[in-house]
Symmetry: C2
Subunit: 336 residues, 2 copies
Amino acid sequence: MVIALNEPLDRHLHLRDEKMLEIGAPLSAETFSGALVMPNLVPPVTTQEAVVAYRERILGCAKNSSFTPYMTLFFRSDYTPQFLESVKEDILAIKLYPAGVTTNSDGGVEGFDLIELAPVLEAMSELQIPLCVHGETGGFVMDRESEFIPIYEKLAKNFPDLKIVMEHITTKDAVEALDRYENLYATITLHHLYITLDDVAGGLLQPHLFCKPIAKRPEDRAALLQAALKAHPKVMFGSDSAPHPREAKEAPGCAAGVFTAPIALQALAQLFDKHGALDNLQRFVSDNAKNIYSINPPKKEVVLEKTAYLVPEMYGGSVVPMFAGGTLEWRVVSAG
Amino acid sequence: MVIALNEPLDRHLHLRDEKMLEIGAPLSAETFSGALVMPNLVPPVTTQEAVVAYRERILGCAKNSSFTPYMTLFFRSDYTPQFLESVKEDILAIKLYPAGVTTNSDGGVEGFDLIELAPVLEAMSELQIPLCVHGETGGFVMDRESEFIPIYEKLAKNFPDLKIVMEHITTKDAVEALDRYENLYATITLHHLYITLDDVAGGLLQPHLFCKPIAKRPEDRAALLQAALKAHPKVMFGSDSAPHPREAKEAPGCAAGVFTAPIALQALAQLFDKHGALDNLQRFVSDNAKNIYSINPPKKEVVLEKTAYLVPEMYGGSVVPMFAGGTLEWRVVSAG
C-alpha cells in the first residue's frame, strides 16, 4: 500500500539553534515542504534582524531548497503597529507564550490584561498576522490547558478578525472550544495522538515522552484523535518536535519535549491507516494549513509505503526520537 | 524548639535485599523503633522460611538492637489455614498486590474474585492477621486508586472482622472511604503529604519524586494532609520509602519509589510544626499504629530540634533521598 502526500507541512516546530539546529533542520527539510518555526530561542526572536538571521541559519543547515521555514516572532505587548507592518513580510505568525510555562518562555506575557495586549492584537488583526498561542495557565499540570480556554474565548470574542491558533492542544475541552468561535484554530502533535499520561508515568517513567503540555487523559486523546482523523478543517498537524541532547532528557530535571519530526509522517500514516482514515491525511498534514494560513508552499511530493521501518535509536549521535529503536509500519520511499 | 517522639514506627517500608538492604536497614533502624517490611522481593516472600531468613538478613544489616522489623507475607490465594496458623507468629500482616501494579508485583492477585480470595481472607480474619493492600487498578494512572475504592469496600463489607489497611493512600476518595467502614485503615507516606503531580511533572521532570501510586491533585494532597495533621485514629505513618540505585532512577524506564526513611521524621516534624500540629505527630508516627496493630515495640526515644539540617545528596554512595542537598528545618538530636 502506498500514499503520496503533497506539500506536507509542520505547523509547529522547534529547531532551536547551533548543534540542535544542525541535527533537526535537515531532517524536517527532508520530508516536509515547510514548517512554522517557533521563536523561543535564548534570547527570543523579537526583532526583524533576528527573524531574518534565524531564517538564514535554518536555510544554511537545512540544505534543501524545497523546504520553507515560515518564521514567527515572539509576542511582546510593546510592539508598535509600525514595527509589525515592517516585519510582516518576514513572518507568518506571532507566537504568544504566557511567562514561564515552557522552555525559554520567561520573557512571555504575564497575566492576560486585554487592555495591555489590545494594541498589538488590533494591529495584528488589521495586518492579518495570525496569533499562535501556547495556551496554559500556571495551574495544576493536568488542568493548565482547560483553565486557559476562557482566555482563548476572551481573545476570540474581542478580536473576531484575528486568527488565533491554539497550539499543540491536548484536551477534549480545547477540541470543543474550536467550534464555538469562528476564528479559533488548532494544531495537534503526533505524540498527543499516540500517548496519554499513562505512557509517560503510568508504568516506568519515560522522560523521552515528557512534554509540555503534558499528555492528558484517555478521553482527551480520543477527542484529539477524532478531530485529526476526520481532518477537522480548523485543525492542522504541528509536531511541536523539540530536540534535546540525550543527556538533558535522561537526567533529573529532564527537559520537556518529544523529538518526532523525522518519523512524524510515517507514524501519522500508520495511525490514519489503522483507523481507516488515510484519505484524510493530506488535509491534516497540508491542505488545512494552506487554507488557514493562505500559503502556497513549493511543490513537494512525499511517498510513503506500508513497509516496516526501524526507527533509529538516535539522530546526530545525540537526539532520541519517539519510537526510538521501535518499528513503524510505514516508511518514506521518496521525497522531492 | 524540641520534640521527643516515643517509638516512631514506619508502617510501610521497602528494605529490598543485598546492597539496598545494607544501605537502608541501618538508616531506618537508627530513627525508627520498628517498621512493617514489605515482601515484594524477587521471588516474593511466601513461605515461613523466607520470612524468617529475610528477618535475619534485616537484623544482620540493621545492627541496632532497638529496631524491630515487623514482617509481612506476600498474599497468595492458595495459602491454607494451617499454613497461616503456623506462620502467624513470624508475621504481623499479609500484603496483597494486584498483579503488575508496582515493583515486583507480578505474582500478585489477578482480578478480585471474592470467592477465590475468601478462604484465605476468612482464615486471616479468624487468626486476626491484618490485610495490607496496594489498592490500585490497572486503569488510567490518575484514577487507579479511586477505581480501587469499590474493591476496598467489597472487602470491608464481606470480611467485617478483618483489619484492612489501605496502603500509601493518595486521594481524597480514599480518605473519605476510611470513615465509611470500621475495619478500613490507612497509611500515608511522607512524600504524598508534600507533593502533587506538579512536583513530579509540572515543571521539569523529577524522577526522584516518581512513585506508585503517583502523586495526585492538590485537593487530594490537602485531604491527606488534613487526615495526617489531626492524626486521624485510623491513619498511620508508612513511608513507602524505597531505595533504588541512582542509575535506576535517572534513566529512561525510571523505577518507581522515593527514598525518605532517613529524613522522614525530620520532614514530618517540619510539616507538623508548620501547620501548628506538632502535638499530633506522636499519634501519627506511633500511637495509632500501636493501637491498630496491637503491638508494643521496644522503648526508643527520638529527640528532634528545630535546627537547620542539610540533607545528604546520597546515602551509601548510591541512593538519592527526597530533599537531597536541600535543607530541612528540623534535625534528629538523639535516638535510643
